[in-house]
Amino acid sequence: MKKFIPLILLLLITVLGLIIRFYRLGQAPAGLYLDEAAQGYNAYSILKTGKDEFGKALPIVFRSFADFKTPVYIYLIVPLIPIFDLTPFTVRFPSFFFSVLTLPLIYLLTRKLIPKPAPATALALLTSLILAISPWHTLFGRTNFECNVALFFLLLAVYSFYLALKKPPLLILSAFFFAITIPTYHSQRLIVPLLLLLLFVRYCRLLFSPSHRRFALAAFVFGLLLSLPTLSIMFTPGFLARAATLNIFTQAPSGHLSWYQGPLASLINARWYLTTKEFFALYLSYFSPRNLFLLGDYGPRSSFPDLATLFTWQYPFYLFGLYRLAIEKKLGELRFFMLALLLISPLPAAITRDPFTTIRALPLVIPLTFIVSLGLIRVYQLISPLLRKTALIVFGLVIVYSLVNLYSSVIVLNEHFRAPYWDYGWQRVVDRLNTLDPKLPVVIDNARAEPYSQILFFTKFNPEQYQRENFEVPLSEYYTNLNRNPVKNIGRITVRPINWEPDLIEEQYLVGDAIAISQQQISLNQMTLIEEITYPDNTPAYRVVLTNPKYQQSVRAISKRQGVK
């Protein structure tokens, strides 16, 4: 019976992680962000026509607004649509699914790598538990973010690699997962090669030994073949778009004193100095307690209100765990892997200009979770055996408090205060439009937002018709031409900026946010307010109005007679 206890505990932890991530999945965060909608609709388009919204058959990277999206997540949505339909739940499901699977995987990986005299099972279970309740990991497990799926494949690849040290054929499986990880999320293009290099240097002797040589070569060739599609577009503007716009090396360096033109300008404003300093400042910020325990990610969609990336109570254990990880050489291979991931993970994020971005640095959640767990275990071992029961009860209460805190931020506050950032309201706009006169055209304003993906998504518009009626770039220039067409035709709906002069003299519905269609404009032009869709805090999100061409014509006729322009 005793040997089943860890498995039962692991099952309970996984179920806990599942509940945290599954509760109101698809409804909280309220709304559907444009990237989520675009990925969902492109998956729908692939399912129905074999092509994306631009008519490109099975793209290697997906055009998306002024950017390109990695393909794996979109292809993962495709088989889910016949099962769950095209809904926010469906587009968030892969992230949820792989996020939950990461919990037992981190247990297995920790168990595999830790030397046996250490409290292997307890440490592995604790790491899994801390990850299950981690605000950082939970956020990306409830929303459509490719980084979470990439993290799962990365860990699976590493786990297979370590298994392959004893069973060489598994090297091919490891190569398969490493090859899949790269096109799953942008930052993995840097993390995977660096991690592979480290593993290769560490195990090159074994990999070149007679028992492994054949399989290592086969794995290399297999991985290379799988990566060929990605490699074939590696130098196109589409592939490099993200890195080119975000990296700190092509930007004006921070701290440049433009007012100083003196004789020492070349030293004082030296680019090598400013850029190096900025890189190290960014890199260090991923270990900064201020960012990890207080501020969190500055992005409203990559953080929860009043909650940082780690819980405040974990701070002392983070410091102690970090120290123990640095000095405890007996942790062996686990120490090597966690230190490697700890040092490599922030690199893709540290070369981009954003101060602390949890999306690009997501793999860091694994070593940080492990560090906190290590700190907890070592502190527990320092406690007198008489007080250990009390310590366990206190720990249990802290976990319960953390869960309540998660509920408060993830469900209650996030839904109320962050709805605008999640593009809340488009489903209600589409529902309302469906009840209106189908003969009248609709213009949806896109001066400040890009709602066409949400309209396509919620109307489940026929992808074949959409591809036929819209053009952006020739398909031969799909990866190279970054031009955009701001006007989108979706049946009777046109998504473009409202042009008041001509738009008011045609009888049609206009849809826009509170700035595009103000109350004053509605009364001034005698338009009919069909519906005002509000955010959960009751502030106006969008307004649907019907124009009044008769009134406009009479006003313009009077103006013309009076000679007023």
Binding site: S254, G255, L257, W259, Y260, G262, L264, L267, I268, A270, Y273, L274, T276, K277, E278, F280, A281, L282, L284, S285, F287, S288, P289, R290, F293, L294, D306, T312, Y323, A326, I327, R353, P355, F356, V404, N405, S408, V412, L413, H416, F417
Partner: protein, 205 residues
């Protein structure tokens, strides 16, 4: 080696006092102490009840809302802001983030950033520092104390403690990893030139 060692110590430890002196900020420290309670975490804030009530009203259950949004959490939030800023390595080596301006803080770079390696090494060799544990307790104790109000300028009190750690790191690295020490020292010297020049120029536009 001795010369290099002295240079490393000088470059590592001189920046914070020099920056403070150049900004003249020590001059109004008496005034700041006089206004201590006005800038304390307990100082009344007209906006606080509005923020607390706005958040509390969102919860279906008032008791639940009160648990996370009350006067104590508001004050604790201010304390955390100060405490994590005081214990953040980015504060000491980069003036927080290079593109970040912290209100009510000088944003001084207190040590040249390559010296961070010495501090990390000091913690790695923590056990060999005799008074290490006491110093660490004093550091966190003082940080907690200073977090009760605006810590700017007062945080200079932490300088001697950090200096001891830095010196320990320099000494240990020089004896245990002399080659690595030389590499870090060269890196420090090269990057200190623009950093020290900026400390002078930045203040006299």
């Amino acid at each position: 080696m001795k010369l290099l060692n002295n240079l490393v110590i000088c470059l590592t430890l001189a920046l914070w006092p020099l920056s403070l002196a150049l900004t003249n900020s020590y001059k109004d420290i008496g005034n700041d102490i006089g206004n201590y309670f006005r800038f304390s975490i307990f100082a009344p804030d007209d906006q606080a009840p509005l923020i607390i009530n706005a958040k509390r009203s969102v919860y279906g259950n008032d008791l639940f809302g009160r648990l996370f949004n009350n006067k104590a959490t508001f004050i604790y939030g201010r304390f955390k802001t100060n405490f994590f800023a005081l214990t953040d390595p980015n504060n000491y080596f980069f003036g927080f983030h290079p593109r970040e301006i912290i209100r009510e803080n000088l944003n001084l770079e207190k040590f040249p950033f390559p010296s961070l390696i010495f501090l990390l090494y000091a913690f790695y060799c923590f056990n060999s520092l005799k008074a290490g544990k006491i110093l660490l307790v004093i550091f966190f104790g003082l940080a907690a104390l200073f977090s009760l109000a605006n810590f700017d300028k007062v945080d200079f009190v932490l300088y001697p403690i950090l200096a001891v750690f830095m010196l320990h790191g320099i000494k240990q690295m020089r004896t245990e990893k002399p080659r690595f020490f030389v590499a870090v020292a060269i890196f420090l010297v090269i990057f200190s030139i623009p950093q020290y020049l900026r400390a002078f120029v930045n203040l006299h536009p």
